[in-house]
Symmetry: C2
Subunit: 364 residues, 2 copies
Amino acid sequence: MFFIIYRCIIFVMFSIKNSLHFPTQPIMAHKNETSQNTTVEKSQNNNLPKLFIHGPLKLSSILQPHPSHNFHILNPSPSLPLHQFISTDPHHASDIAAIFCTGLYPLNADILRLLPSLRVIVTSSAGTDHIDLSECRRRGIQVAGVGDLFSDDVADMAVALLIDVFRKITAADRCLRRQLQSASWDFPLGFKLSGKKVGIVGLGRIGLEVAQRLEAFNCIISYNSRNKKPLVSYPFYSTVLDLATNTSILILCCELNNQTRHIINREVMLALGKGGVIVNVGRGALIDEKELLRCLIEGEIGGAGLDVFENEPNVPKEFFALDNVVLSPHAAVLTSESFSGIKQLVEQNLIAFFSNKPLITPVI
Amino acid sequence: MFFIIYRCIIFVMFSIKNSLHFPTQPIMAHKNETSQNTTVEKSQNNNLPKLFIHGPLKLSSILQPHPSHNFHILNPSPSLPLHQFISTDPHHASDIAAIFCTGLYPLNADILRLLPSLRVIVTSSAGTDHIDLSECRRRGIQVAGVGDLFSDDVADMAVALLIDVFRKITAADRCLRRQLQSASWDFPLGFKLSGKKVGIVGLGRIGLEVAQRLEAFNCIISYNSRNKKPLVSYPFYSTVLDLATNTSILILCCELNNQTRHIINREVMLALGKGGVIVNVGRGALIDEKELLRCLIEGEIGGAGLDVFENEPNVPKEFFALDNVVLSPHAAVLTSESFSGIKQLVEQNLIAFFSNKPLITPVI
């Protein structure tokens, strides 16, 4: 899963900047680091591990250097993408020992080859498909993720979106607030969640957390994933089409890759049926969004709870007129607790690495 | 719990009218039954159990008699309240053998005394505080409720409202639909539900279903009720104030009576604290609504998920401006499945009674 978006990036980068303390290192000023650095600064910086922040950042003011920090961040206001930083300032780029990156900013082999000193990558995403892990393995670059830090929050969001669609909660709240009270009080009936057949697409950590929660709602769980899980007793379907045929709810918790892109197509939606509900807490492109819209408008499926979209942050406006859809701005991991967790985990991984200890949440 | 509102009444009454089949009885026409009945009709009706529908009903057109019915409903378009029916048509009223009632229409001792032939009351509500059970016992009048028909749906709604408030789902959806996309995408962070301390007020069937669900979210459950439950391992607090002091979430699942009216007052809310969330799926008057509004606006508590209000169907307009509140139009039981269930259960109880069999869901 790759739940890294704008706010996440800002928060985490801000947190790193304000919390990375390597006590054996001197306090450093590292403002306006580019080719204008003085000889003295360069000399001091040579004693510090160099961290590059690899992600989009508009609110650079949040990331102003803090004098109490003793970790050298090469780009405390990272408006410059990594490849541009490399071409602009190859000297500093060649010193980069660590990268903190987000799930939406790739680190492919071509870029990694330009970073000869890189020894560790810490990503704030649960997924790592944006990093060329083969190249990292070949080079001995260690990679840290977030472990299962997000699983609870994402699973909570998936369940909430599901009940919301079934019970028309957001739609009823909207109706009430429009102050059409007599009409609101006659709002259409919802549907019972308990006892429904739920198909989970991708039974990783998040999928299992969703299953645990929905079992407590007396739902009947089955799943599809790359392979049948030997230790899982839920019925397995080898294709999403089979899963959709045998359930009335699909919850998408799988990674996005070439095999899963548009895995929810019109055929799957028709198999799910007119009362069917799709919840997506994975990636927008898991669903053929145009077909989803068509099926929702034509009543070919019953509803959808969407935390992700194909072209974020854009949400197709056609959704806004639909009462059988709940829309969420890629917020599945957006809790203050998960952000505090990322801050700690990124810090802990970097401290561990530069203390020659094992990473806390290693990917490789 | 007393989850009977307008739509419920309409649906159930409609359902009863269209589904009550007592196969040993002849098909009856029973249109415009008042003092204009013919002698022939009266003669035929004397052979049938007389049912009075006791509840508000605007959409009387839905309730037109169906020629295939062989149960005699005295008031197929029940615009006349019971006490008026009794004074208008005492002859037929004295024949009433059965009453189907809703939770909001009382059957106190004064009214029951005017119904000498009454033998059974079937209510569509989980609660029975609207019926004078002592008088029923004294008279040998049997009473049927809905058993635990609503428990799943109400518990689902409680959990959904809780996650919604914590994760700002309805507020974010509203923000997105206003098409303020860049602003929406920067929507404030929510809060993690997992691991939170939840206090359930009223650990009956619905409270236990809520607890079961929230345990799967890794929440820590405790409760307050009239008495400590000997078979329940959750920590018990003898007062709601103690419960609020030791939790950050209160979920109200208890009955409304003189002991529980305004059980959630300012003191309790302050004890719950600034991050605290209250969910009410019981009755509106369990909360001092004016104080709730004040605490929400002043930030003395964090948020609320409200399915019920003190003066339904009126919802105080001050709520509409608040993003830390989710508003639901007394919809906790409003699923098509629960309505089908009521229809069947009311029918089954009446069939059982008039077949001299035990009630399916007896109260007494």
